[in-house]
């Protein structure tokens, strides 16, 4: 076996693996008795196999064993919803800011009690105006007659109605 010979190499390995047939083993033996290099290769293969036999799977160190056991605990799937998750915690923290911002942006709307009070004040004002209208009408009537009085009180009435309408629109 002066040159590398795949055929013999395969047979040497098959011999080492215990996969060589009896016929091929005999053939190899015959060949080796005439070929010093082949004989050496077979001896070296045995020596390597012996040395390999002394090498075993190495025991993983304790530190690694501990790390591997801890994997299920450290790599739990994240729950679908949790207030402790960063995104939810941030959303919660931002909530007061949103409320403040919305309240600042919202137009001023009076409360129900404020509206009720405004209505009451308006009613008093209109009652006062109605009374004023009667007094004015009587005074004009006594000085310039019914036709003139009607013309004046009508314009006062229109002004009051217009005021009243505006107030209701604002209220709405």
């Amino acid at each position: 076996m002066n040159e590398y010979d795949d055929k013999w190499e395969d047979r040497i390995n098959a011999l080492m693996d215990g996969e060589l047939s009896a016929t091929d083993a005999e053939l190899l033996k015959t060949q080796a008795s005439d070929d010093h290099d082949l004989a050496c290769a077979i001896i070296e293969a045995y020596q390597l196999q012996q040395a390999m036999g002394a090498i075993h799977v190495e025991r993983a160190p304790d530190s690694l064993r501990k790390r591997l056991r801890a994997i299920p605990r450290k790599h739990r799937p994240a729950p679908a919803f949790s207030l402790l998750q960063p995104r939810w915690a941030m959303a919660l923290a931002a909530l007061p800011l949103v409320v403040i911002a919305v309240s600042l942006m919202r137009p001023d709307t009076p409360s129900a009690s404020e509206i009720a009070q405004a209505r009451q004040e308006l009613a008093i004002a209109f009652a006062y105006l109605d009374k004023a209208k009667l007094i004015t009408g009587r005074e004009i009537e006594s000085s310039v007659g019914q036709t003139m009085a009607d013309a004046v009180t009508d314009s006062v009435n229109r002004a009051i109605k217009s005021q009243n309408l505006n107030s209701k629109e604002k209220e709405a």
């Binding site: 190499e9 390995n13 080492m16 190495e58 025991r59 591997l68 994997i71």
Partner: protein
């Protein structure tokens, strides 16, 4: 599921560690690589065929180690001297222990895929079929490469033996 994972750890942690140790030649990095492989196993525990867990894990461990080797080379921190370490010096009257240590270093100094082939087949004792599955080679390739690897080791061993 956690129980099954614990069983896998018990059965395969030493084999995965051995593969990582031989490829990386650095204990700390080998630990990290082995842990990474088991994290992947945990994350894929529902997808991995239970019958093929061992082959899957060895493949993932080896690929992770090779990635680390590539990154080492990229960072120019790779210790080439380790790869070409003095494994052929005069060793008269070699004791078994010394031969074993020498052989470990010789295996570690083999190039890929020879190194993985020897570790998986001759150290971890996987079958040829399993090795073929792990390394994604066909059976003929596994045998050819393994024979070359063994021949290299054999010749080196012959040089150091009296």
């Amino acid at each position: 599921m956690s129980k099954r994972y614990r069983q896998w750890v018990k059965e395969y942690q030493d084999q995965a560690w051995t593969v990582a140790r031989y490829i990386l030649k650095d204990a700390q990095e080998a630990e990290d690589a082995t842990q990474e492989a088991f994290v992947k196993l945990w994350n894929n525990r529902d997808n991995v065929d239970p019958e093929r867990v061992q082959a899957w894990l060895m493949k993932v461990t080896r690929n992770g180690c090779l990635d680390r080797l590539r990154r080492r080379r990229d960072n120019v921190e790779f210790d080439e001297s380790y790869m070409t370490g003095d494994i052929s010096g005069p060793m008269q009257d070699v004791a078994t222990n010394e031969t074993r240590e020498w052989l470990k270093r010789a295996i570690a100094s083999l190039k890929e895929p020879y190194r993985s082939l020897v570790v998986l087949r001759d150290v971890n004792q996987h079958s040829y079929e399993e090795v073929a599955g792990i390394l994604e080679l066909n059976l003929a390739q596994v045998k050819t490469y393994l024979h070359r690897a063994r021949k290299q080791l054999r010749e080196q061993l012959a040089e150091v033996r009296p």
